[in-house]
C-alpha cells in the first residue's frame, strides 16, 4: 500500500456517470435525423456544407486553443465545437459557398465563443451569432433558398421560404405553397436542417428522454408561438396562417429543441427556463407578425440569451427554509 497512489480529494468521493462529453455526444446523436432529412431534401450539397462547417469549427477551435496555450486535445474531444459546427450548418442554406461557411465558423468559434473565454463562458449561442452575422454579411446568399429535390429542381433554382411568402403575399399563398404535411416532413425551402419538423422532433424527444434537456424551454417556446400566432390568425386569417402551420414552419422546431436549450446560454432554473422559452416565443411572434424579417427565431433566442443573466439573477430556486426564516423574522 503505497501512499502516493492514493487519491486524496474533498467530498463527495463518488460521481454520477454523466459528463460534459457524454452530454455533447448525445446532442450530436440527436442531430443526426435532422441532418439525414437535410440530405434527403437538399441533396449531397447539404452534407458537404455540414462537413465543411464541422471541420472548420474544429480547425478554428484547435488554432485558438493553441494560440491561447490551452490543452488542445481535451477541448477538441469534448464535442462542443462539433455541435457548434453542426448547428451552424443546420442554420444555413445548402447552396451556400463553402468559404462563407468557413467565415461563419470563424465567427462562431472565434468571436462568439473564445472571445468570451471559451466553453461555458459565452453569453450568446455561438452558432446563432454566426448565423446572424452571416445573415448581415451575406444577405443575398443567406436568403436564397434552394428548392427541395423532391420538387424536381436543380441546384440553381431558388424559392422563397413559406414564411417569406406569408410576409409578401399573405396566408393563402403561403399555405398553398406549403401544406402542413410538407412542413412536417420538411419538403419546403429553408435552411438545410430546419425544415423537417419530424426529424427535429425525433431528435428533441431523444434529448428529452436522455435528460439532456428538460421540457420547459421547448414547450414554453412552441406554446407561446402557437398562442401568439393563434391570436393573429383569429384577428386576420387572410394575412396569417393557422398556428399549427406557423409552429411547423421556419426555425421554430430547430430553435426550440436545439438552439434555445443550449445549456450555456439559457437559465439554470426550471422557472427561469419557462420564462426564457416564453420570451423566445414572444419575440419570435413579434418579428414574424409585425417585423420586417419573415423569421425571428434566431433573433429571439439571441435576445433572450442576453437576458439570461438577468433571469438567473431574479428567478432563483426557492431556498429551503427561507419562508420559515422570514416568518420568524417577522415575528421578532
Amino acid at each position: 500500500m503505497s501512499e502516493t497512489r492514493l487519491l486524496l480529494q474533498s467530498s463527495p468521493h463518488v460521481r454520477d456517470v454523466s459528463s460534459v462529453q457524454g452530454i455533447m455526444h448525445t446532442v450530436i446523436l440527436s442531430l443526426v435525423p435532422a441532418l439525414i432529412a437535410g440530405v434527403v431534401f437538399f441533396g449531397w450539397r447539404a452534407l458537404a456544407v455540414t462537413v465543411v462547417a464541422v471541420a472548420s469549427c474544429l480547425a478554428v477551435e484547435a488554432a485558438i486553443l493553441r494560440l491561447a496555450g490551452k490543452p488542445v486535445k481535451t477541448a477538441l474531444v469534448d464535442g462542443s465545437a462539433i455541435i457548434t459546427g453542426l448547428l451552424l450548418a443546420m442554420n444555413l442554406p445548402s447552396n451556400l459557398p463553402f468559404w462563407m461557411v468557413g467565415v461563419g465558423a470563424v465567427v462562431a468559434i472565434g468571436v462568439a465563443k473564445h472571445a468570451y473565454g471559451g466553453l461555458g463562458n459565452n453569453p450568446f449561442n455561438p452558432a446563432l451569432v454566426a448565423r446572424v452575422f452571416m445573415l448581415i454579411a451575406f444577405p443575398g446568399a443567406m436568403t436564397s433558398w434552394p428548392v427541395t429535390t423532391c420538387n424536381g429542381a436543380t441546384d440553381v433554382l431558388t424559392a422563397a421560404t413559406p414564411l417569406g411568402i406569408m410576409k409578401m403575399e399573405g396566408a393563402a399563398a403561403a399555405m398553398q405553397a406549403a401544406s402542413w404535411w410538407d412542413l412536417f416532413i420538411g419538403n419546403v425551402g429553408g435552411c438545410l436542417g430546419e425544415t423537417s419538423a419530424l426529424a427535429l422532433l425525433l431528435g428533441g424527444l431523444f434529448l428529452l428522454w436522455r435528460r439532456v434537456i428538460s421540457y420547459e424551454i421547448p414547450v414554453a417556446f412552441i406554446g407561446t408561438v402557437a398562442a401568439g400566432t393563434a391570436v393573429a390568425w383569429l384577428v386576420d386569417p387572410t394575412k396569417y396562417p393557422d398556428p399549427l402551420w406557423q409552429v411547423l414552419s421556419g426555425g421554430v422546431m430547430l430553435g426550440a429543441w436545439f438552439m434555445a436549450t443550449d445549456m450555456v446560454t439559457s437559465p439554470v432554473t426550471r422557472k427561469g427556463m419557462l420564462l426564457f422559452g416564453v420570451g423566445c416565443g414572444v419575440v419570435t411572434c413579434v418579428i414574424r407578425l409585425l417585423g420586417g424579417y419573415p423569421e425571428g427565431v434566431s433573433f429571439s433566442i439571441l435576445v433572450m440569451n442576453g437576458l439570461t443573466p438577468l433571469i438567473d439573477r431574479y428567478v432563483k430556486p426557492a431556498r429551503f427554509g427561507a419562508e420559515a426564516a422570514q416568518a420568524e423574522g417577522g415575528k421578532a
Partner: protein, 246 residues
Amino acid sequence: MSGFAGDAKAISVVVVIGAVCAAGLAFVKGQTEGAIKAARLQETAAAVERVVPAGCKVRLDEERAGATECPDYRKKAPATAGGKPGCFDVYPAYFEDGRLCAVAVRNSNTEGYGGRIEVLAGFAGLENEETLVLTRIYVLSHSETPGLGSLIATAQDKPPEEWGIDRKKVFGLNFRNRVLKDFSFTVKKGTEATEGEVMAITAATISSRAVTKAVGESSRWVKENLGAIREKLAAAPGPSADGGAQ
C-alpha cells in the same frame, strides 16, 4: 474680483469672443457661398446628365434646379413626398440647337424597406405619347439594407454600356430605354417577369416595388403633362453662368 465687476468682465469676454467668431464665420461664409451653390448645382446636373440620352446638354439654372414656386403643370395629383410639397421636380436637357431633348423627373417613394427612396428618371421622345421613352433611372438616395435592397442602385455610377444585359444583376436595366406605351410597371418575381415588366431583386421585392412605384408615378405624370412640359421648357435658357454642365 467679485460681484458686478466680475460678472461684467466675464460677460464682456464671452461677447467679444462670440463677436470675433461670428465675424470670422461671416467672412468664410461669404468666401464659400458661391462655391457651395455651384457644387450643389453641379451635383444635380451630373445626376441629370446620367439619365438623359447622350448628346443632350443639361442646362440648369437656379430656377430649374428646384423652383421656389410650383407652376400648375408640375402639381402632383396626390401630394405625396418628393421635392417641394406636391410638386414634381423637372430638369430639362436640350439638343445643341436648343430644342428640348429630354427631361429628368425627380420623385420619391416612402414604401422602401428602409424608408424613403429618391429616384431620378429620364424621359426622351417627348414629341407625343407614342414615342415617349423612359431612358434610365438613377437612385439619388435610399437607406435600403446593404447587399439586399441596396442592389436597386447597382452599377448606376458606371456608364450603361458596362451594365451587361442581365436584369437580375443590374436592376437599372429594367428601366433602360423602355417605350412607355409597352411598359407596365408591374413587379414580378425573377423567372416570371416578361420584357414589359420589372424583375424584382431576389429577396428585395419591397425595395424593387418602391422604386418601380416612384418611376411609374413620374412616367404617368410626364405622359399626362406632355404638352405643358414641352411648352414651358421649350426654350433653352441662355448659357448659364453658374453650373450648366458642359
